[in-house]
Amino acid sequence: MKKKLRNFIFQELVFVAEPEQFSDDDNLLEAGLDSMGIMRLIMFIENEYGVTLPDTEIEPDNVQSFNALEQWILRHQNG
């Protein structure tokens, strides 16, 4: 899952010089993920994984890193 998220984010939303150096805990918001990026990311996730992410959970905490994103998605896939 993280590989797909990485591909989408680094190809479409945030451009970092060396993606392989960007860890799963590094801060995506500091790297340039903004409100428009978050909106596109959520649409991508909902399409790709067939989940509905509740509006009220769209928070910096849930989107700030690849690990946070994965946990957020998994909570809704299983629930």
């Binding site: 451009f15 978050i38 769209i58 989107v63």
Partner: protein, 479 residues
């Protein structure tokens, strides 16, 4: 006719009205005036024509702006999140005498301008002095935007120009002292002229939206509800986010009566959704470059919103006279709100034709109802999250990298978010793209950073030797 006249009247008539709310901090009109006068007095200790505001959006920055105007000077708001090289360029181009910031003078500053710490001044004793009444033609603000020559460009606005817009908006949208106005636009962005001056001129309260809420649309909606916001002027991309993910169905906004948007084209499907979720709100599409401020507006007619059709920009606003070039469709604007000129290296450079028209470079037409419709740019300028971005400014930064032989920047269009810059780069043999991206990201503000880079052996050219932008679009959008 000073930009402060209407505000000063409100301070006399309704001094106890709330002027600003930011988090737990709340100031009435009288308190705001007192603090601004205090700061004006400090500024007037030395001859002072132009003052850079190096503060984040909020009460302190708003007071600093009022103080600068009260001292008869012109304010230059910075986006302090910009990289230091860009900030130093702007500060030196503005040739300011003072900078107002918070805390100690930052080490990266390369300017002879004096630094004033706004936190130190609040305790300073008040010096008796009368604020200066500025002449209508005096400059009130210089707003720096992206420039097509590769460096930021200062749009110089007079008191007359800014008053013309502030008064038009206050009348047209019937702003009153009962209004609570949500403010999100940074002060270097022309939407803030409404937030500050249309509001304060009417005795309304300005509520600063906490930073970070734009990343969490349902919290933003909840905030709009709690604060009983009645008027909100922002960019379509943020309104789209609220429409799609803002929990509006569960959070009715009974106090909200007017939503204004500008800065980019609002995709019709999202606007339709928003209109359905907020059935009692009046929406207005405002149009105009920073150079003219709003020169066209369209009260949104819900029944005319059809997916696949772009909404019109509507009718002339602010008393503007509009002309369309019969061949190119270029829109020219003659308006009291027009800029005084571009500010360059400490001088004002004329930007208008002999009969005072400003050529926008926007391609427009008139429809059968007599409404103006926008069809895009005649040049390469992009609109990214409402910000204006000149590809030439990004290219100039790329070309500063020793690894880069040539480059071209275009806008990739996204159905939900509008345009984003993307770059194609030709490198010297043996050099890697990674070496270029890092410095480029340090030198450009976030909204100007390309979201995509590709490396090419050569740029595509047309037979006449010009860059083939269509082919570039194909390569960057498919890559």
């Amino acid at each position: 006719m000073s930009l402060l006249s209407a505000f000063n009247r409100q301070c006399q008539n309704a001094p106890d009205n709330i002027a600003f709310i930011e988090g737990d901090r709340q100031l009435g009109y009288r308190q705001v005036l007192q603090r601004a006068d205090q700061l004006s007095a400090c500024l007037m200790a030395n001859p002072c024509r132009r003052v850079v505001i190096a503060l984040d959006r909020g009460i302190d920055a708003a007071i600093a702006i009022l103080a600068v105007l009260g001292a008869g000077a012109c304010y230059i708001p910075l986006d302090i999140k910009n990289p230091a090289n860009r900030l130093n360029y702007i500060i030196n181009d503005a040739n300011a005498q003072y900078m107002i910031g918070k805390g100690q003078r930052p080490g990266w500053l390369e300017t002879p301008a004096l630094w004033l710490d706004i936190e130190q001044l609040t305790d300073a004793p008040q010096i008796a002095s009368r604020p200066v009444e500025a002449s209508a033609e005096a400059l009130a603000a210089i707003l720096y935007t992206s420039g097509s020559t590769g460096t930021p460009k200062g749009v110089a606005l007079s008191h007359r120009a800014m008053c013309n817009f502030a008064d038009w908006a206050a009348d047209t949208f019937r702003i009153s002292q009962n209004d609570r106005i949500a403010s999100l636009a940074p002060f270097h962005f022309d939407l803030s002229v409404f937030d500050l001056f249309s509001s304060l001129g009417c005795g309304a309260a300005v509520h600063f939206i906490p930073a970070g809420l734009t990343l969490s649309p349902s919290r933003l909606t909840a905030w709009l509800s709690e604060q009983q916001i009645s008027v909100f002027y922002t960019v379509p991309s943020l309104l789209s986010f609220i429409a799609l993910k803002g929990s509006l169905a569960a959070t009715p906004l009974p106090d909200l009566k007017t939503v204004l948007f500008a800065g980019e084209v609002f995709p019709t499907p999202q606007l339709k959704t928003l209109c359905e979720l907020l059935p009692d709100v009046n929406f207005y599409n405002l149009y105009g470059p920073t150079e003219t401020n709003v020169c066209c507006y369209w009260p949104v007619e819900r029944k005319r919103l059809q997916t696949g059709q772009t909404i019109p920009i509507g009718y002339p606003a602010c008393g503007a006279v509009l002309q369309i070039d019969a061949e190119t469709g270029d829109l020219a604007v003659q308006s009291t709100s027009n800029l005084s000129g571009y500010w360059q290296q400490g001088q004002l450079i004329n930007a208008l034709s002999a009969d005072h028209y400003y050529q926008t470079g926007d391609r427009v037409s008139l429809n059968e109802r007599g409404e103006y419709c926008y069809h895009g740019r005649l040049d390469r300028m992009l609109k990214c999250s409402g910000y204006r971005v000149e590809p030439a400014e990004i290219e100039a930064v790329l070309l500063q990298c020793p690894e880069v032989i040539s480059c071209a920047v275009i806008g990739i269009t996204d159905a939900t978010c509008g345009q984003r810059p993307a770059a194609a780069v030709v490198l010297k043999p043996g050099d890697r793209l990674e070496a270029v991206i890092k410095p480029v990201k340090q030198k450009l503000p976030v909204y100007m950073q390309p979201c995509k880079f590709i490396e090419l052996e050569t740029l595509p050219y047309l037979s006449n030797g010009k860059t083939d932008y269509q082919e570039l679009h194909r390569q960057l959008e498919n890559n």
